[in-house]
Amino acid sequence: MNTNERPDSLQRLVHPAPRAPQLTGLQETKSAPQPAPELWLAIHLSQLPLDIATRGHAERRACVLVEGGGTRQRILLANSEAVRLGIRPGMPLGAAHALGDVTPLPRMPDAEDRALAQLCAWAYQFTPVVNAVPPDGLLLEVRGSLHLFGGLHGLLSALRRGLRELGMRAFAFSTAPTPLAATWLARGRQAATVDTLAALPAALSALPLEALRLPSRQLQDFSGIGVHTVGDCLRLPRDGLARRFTPGLLRDLDRALGREADPRPACTPPARFASRLDLPWEIHHAQALATGMERLLHELGGVLRARSALIRTLDWTLHHRDGNAVRHRISLVAPSRDVAHLARLTREYFARQRLSSPVRGIELLAEDFEVRTTVETGDLFFCGRRADGADERWPQFVERLQARLGPEALKELAAVPDHRPERAMRLAQFRPSPRRSETKVAEQDDAHRRRRPRPLWLTRSPLPLPEQNGRPALGGVLTLGPERERVQGGWWEGADLERDYFIARDENGTRWWIFRELNGRPGWFLHGVFE
């Protein structure tokens, strides 16, 4: 009991809104109440433990969260599939099993904490003031963000879409000028949007006391004296309330009504991204990992948007049943934060993988944030397809091919000024960065060589040709053309060439580029095909 506070509290009862600023006295004469300076949006995730456990699976099973041990296991939460079977929270697990095929899941407080922290980092893209309300709530101060999202309605639909992408299925929103009131209203599923302090007592009065999450003992006491709602509670004399119950309750009520300051620590978004998703039932095929991976990529996308950053690598770790953790790195050619693109790359990459053993958990790590101060328009106008802007999407196109076919499958071709045929070209791993046209430079270098006929196709390496009566054969005997081109040199690189090249014709009329080796192993070799 706190006797010092009493006169103060009494005074507050007389003036229920002392926070009304003194300087704006002129405006107060208007009848319309001013909106409160802060607007708190509370998100209540009523099934957070179930949602985070099942969001990695595309398949929807009836799942229940259980507490207690042995035969006394009781159901704490049931998802909508389980509710459809007739399963209700509070039932013994045995009874639930009798109603249908249901998967019981244990509580994982660590995973819940981590998920809530991830949600905070993700929500930072909507407002810089984000606060976690353990174990299943978030608070966002959104007054300054309303304009950006086109009003509260726009903000709520963006949040709704975002939460669904993360795999959250049950959530409720409420807004109020104080954080506590918003939290209580969201928990009470009131979906209230209270804009002014003056409207708060009315909005809170119908709220059942359960929304305050009081100790069960206190709740019983209240119900014993016929107090069931916040309104009932507010009608009680303050000193009596403080004496009979904890002063904490009175303080909470004052905070909820905006009579007392309620400072909230702001959460700061992390400088790296690491998130893990546990799979309650194992995944055997790489393709089935896509759902869980997309959830994590949406988390990452939110964090990247919040920090206006891009990333270059995705580090996936798969936790297998046999205890192995296998790392898979996907490197991007151009930094990106486009979730659809990252998901496509990941899908293509894992479509090539075969799982060594079933997967129990997926982890995503992204550390190399590249902070961009300029606004990226790519996310907004990604679907625009302009012929002149096609090159902007070229890196993403190349990445997609590389993700599926392997980076070494794409080659670029260059001409090298060298008179030895196999050295006159270079076939190297493709780099999607724009290259300058090399044609003009090379043209001058080997203008003299262009008079020599060169085939359009070269074999990967010279193929030895059989001989018939001392003449080269390919199917039948080849007819040699009249021109002979002597190619020699290369001793300075340890590979001395001495060859006579001919154009030879077979009976179908196809022209082959063949040579007679004059140095080392003598014989005829096939080196190319003319078209």
Binding site: M425, L427, R435, E443, T459
Partner: protein
């Protein structure tokens, strides 16, 4: 649904109707004159049926490829039968910085699909090859996609033709002449008959959207 309604659907092509596609000059006046669009149907899928590589099919499209590269479009060669030889391509006026080769041998992806090295065409069942080719055709930055397939299902050909239309690209299939009798949704089908005299090709136009101007023509390469 009446017959008239079916006729009015955009996807139905009637022989003899003028095509809306613009032509991409082939670089061979005799061939341009024979084609209703005055060149390669662009965008569109073309099939060039000929003997094995070496029968002149590639040379027939080189001028068009050079033009596309000049226009900053990519030339994507999917699983070519041999290595395209850079000096010869350069001599044909092709900007090599616009060439990308999808070489599945190197990636060892096709090892299981049984892609033989020299001269053998990829099998129709090689999903990666077809996937890469279709992606190339669908990509607007690509000018032309080149593929050397063997047997292909009509449905696959149809997909590829639609991919060309979606991406605004030229798809070129180099196929053995034994597939000449197969019905195909490609916009243009040519059968090449090499002449013993070098650098002359006899072309039979098997099918052409927009009606035939001539069934046969001779081209000096």
């Amino acid at each position: 649904m009446t017959l008239d309604e079916i006729m009015r659907r955009a996807r139905l092509w009637r022989a003899g109707e003028a095509s809306a596609e613009a032509g991409l000059p082939t670089g061979f006046p005799a061939l341009d004159a024979a084609l209703p669009a005055g060149g390669w149907p662009f965008p569109g899928l073309i099939e060039i049926l000929s003997g094995p590589p070496g029968s002149g099919a590639l040379r027939l499209v080189l001028p068009a490829l050079a033009q596309l590269a000049q226009a900053q479009r990519w030339l994507i060669w999917v699983a070519p039968p041999y290595q395209p030889y850079a000096p010869a391509l350069q001599a044909a006026g092709i900007d090599l910085s616009r060439v990308m080769i999808v070489d599945l041998d190197a990636a060892e992806v096709s090892a299981s699909a049984g892609l033989a090295r020299c001269g053998a065409a990829p099998q129709a069942g090689d999903g990666q090859v077809l996937w890469a080719f279709e992606q190339a055709l669908r990509f607007p930055g690509c000018g032309a996609g080149l593929l050397w397939p063997g047997a292909l299902e009509t449905l696959t050909l149809r997909r590829l033709q639609l991919a060309c239309e979606a991406g605004g690209t030229l798809g070129v299939l180099f196929r053995p002449s034994e597939f000449a009798a197969q019905p195909s949704p490609a916009a243009l089908r040519l059968l090449l008959t090499p002449q013993p005299a070098a650098d002359v090709l006899d072309i039979t136009i098997l099918k052409c959207r927009g009606g035939l101007r001539a069934r046969e023509c001779r081209v000096a390469l």
